[in-house]
Amino acid sequence: MLLDIIITGLINGSTYALLAIGFSLIFGVARIVNIAHTAFYMVASYCIYFVTHKLGYHPVLGMLAAVPVVTLLGLITYKLFIDPIREHEAAVLIGTIALAIALQEVMLIIFTGDYLSVPALIGGYFTIFDVKVFYQQLITFVAALIVLGALRLLLMKTRLGLAIRSTAEDREVANLMGMNESRVAMMTVGISIALAGFTGAVIVPLTIVEPFMWMHPLIMMMAVVVLGGLGSIKGSFVAAYILGFAEALVVFLIPMGAFLKGSVALSIMILVLLIRPEGLFGVAFEEER
């Protein structure tokens, strides 16, 4: 039981961390509340399903293909629909909602609403203290940690990372210092959607693929971002594991827990916000930024 909770919590937490950091990046740099973020995660899952079941290749190939495909799709839709209206915050908001609905409907038309699944990369499991641990769960967890580490290196050690961080801090001054703001925004959108695609790729063998699979992660991702503090990568990381473990605890310990998992996690978020309105690691925002 305890080990089950730990495993589920770690996997959920890593998924939410990957998604939330991508969402945070776009929000920080381009000030876009990207509702369609998890829709790209769904599209990536479908890509892998398509490569493995329709074309008959190995899932790894599907995962390698999914990330660039989704990133390209994300960049094209960003350029076409979101970039021209970036100055109007409200319009961007419903633009991304409409985009998410459009992606969901396209997937619904192509693949129908059936529940689909993708085989694990390495089948089988080993047991610790009488608890089955599937190799796939281990792969997912390790892959998520590696990508999180790589992202941290990118943000902290490279020139691009410096540009992203400084644009997130203050857009106008970054622009004055000679950074091409719109190009940085474009790069960030690309990185962020690639992260969403990657999340879809590593998590897909553990979940069911269906057109509405983006709804629950979307809500949890937003809760993570708010709980950790908007724009704080470290905050998102910590908050993702808090909420991931909270969900796992509720599912395993409370009867009818599957219905209440979202409620309990979100209630934790609201309780924390009552004490710290800017989130766990957030900086209190000034009036205008």
Partner: protein, 346 residues
């Protein structure tokens, strides 16, 4: 006799001098008249059903505008009010056997209570934080609804409520008249002293506080008012559909109202109403291609936003009416001089 003639004259001059001078006012006038005479022209139950639902959702969208458009408190969980209104009306009707004319307002009071409960923690948050936090509330409530099926009916909801009225036409008149009255009230609220405070809270909250106005109280008032109107629409919906189910609390419901309002143009009240009257029947029209319905809906929104990011109806209004540069009164676009101060229009 003279008195009647006097009032008739007065009415005539109001129509001539206040309504016929501006195309937007003519459109609103015709819209009201048309809605009232439609049952005389056709009794098609399907058409009436669409218009009833459209009216109910028009109240819902306008109430979102009252809160999020005017005070700028982005609410992503507006379905909470709708759901609470629907569920409390349904419970009152089923358990206590209160008829619809009592259960709907009482259900709306339940929604006001919900507004107070979520308003108090949310008032400490701003902007995007607020938007993302409010998204959580309907989902929390939905979890609770699923967890206690003995009271809420779980996935099936509470069904078998009393009808609003026996016939479809009477139902139609109830929904349309309630919509007209409530929307006029909302429009009047936004035009009043309170509405001006709402406006200024959106523009610059610190300045309003510096002017000695208790902004917290006004924001809470906005939450309550908006909750009340959304609760009434939820109650109407429950009694018209004769079921209050978990679909009233879904995320898509919250998103839908945001889409309607922003599409129609926020901070207007009439914008969201017009948008619902355009988009909801449009969705029914797309029924001919059921598979592509939502996809086409999404594309219509994306395309219109590309060209009119301020919303559809304000864009149209700016095309047919211009503001006088001197006295700031609106005129038909074809006029060369202002109708009030006779200044040159450029």
């Amino acid at each position: 006799m003279d008195l009647i003639r006097f009032y008739f004259r007065k009415l005539f001059s109001i129509v001539k001098n206040e309504i016929l001078v501006l195309p937007s006012r003519i459109v609103v006038f015709l819209f009201f008249v048309l809605l009232l005479v439609i049952p005389l022209l056709t009794k098609d139950p399907y058409l009436l059903r669409i218009l009833i639902l459209t009216s109910i959702f028009a109240i819902f969208a306008a109430s979102w505008d009252l809160l999020s458009g005017f005070t700028g408190q982005m609410n992503f969980g507006h379905a909470l009010f709708f759901g609470v209104g629907a569920y409390s009306a349904a419970t009152l009707n089923q358990q206590v056997h209160i008829p619809p004319w009592g259960s709907i307002p009482l259900g709306a009071l339940g929604a006001v209570l919900a507004g107070l409960i979520i308003g108090i923690p949310c008032l400490r948050l701003k902007g995007t934080y607020l938007a993302l936090t409010t998204l959580a509330f309907p989902i929390i409530l939905m979890g609770v609804v699923f967890a206690i099926p003995s009271i809420t009916g779980g996935e099936l909801g509470i069904s078998g409520l009393d009808r609003l009225a026996r016939s479809r036409v009477v139902n139609y008149y109830i929904a349309v008249l309630v919509m007209m009255v409530l929307c006029t009230i909302m429009w009047k609220i936004t035009d009043s002293h309170v509405g001006i405070v709402f406006h200024s809270i959106r523009e610059d909250e610190v300045a309003v506080r510096a002017a000695g106005i208790n902004t917290t109280r006004y924001k809470l008032l906005a939450f309550c008012l908006s909750g009340f109107f959304a609760g009434i629409s939820g109650g109407l919906y429950a009694h018209f559909m004769r079921i209050a189910g978990p679909s009233t609390l879904e995320v898509s419901m919250s998103f839908q109202v945001v889409i309607w309002s922003i599409f129609g143009g926020v901070v207007t009240i009439w914008g969201p109403i017009g948008a619902v009257f355009i988009l909801f029947p449009l969705m029914e029209f797309f029924r001919f291609w059921p598979q592509f319905r939502m996809l086409m809906f999404a594309f219509v929104i994306l395309l219109i936003l590309l060209y009119m990011p301020e919303g559809l109806l304000p864009w149209i209004r700016d095309k047919i009416e211009h503001e006088c540069p001197r006295c700031k009164i609106r005129n038909v676009a074809t006029r060369k001089s202002c109708r009030v101060c006779a200044a040159e229009m450029e």
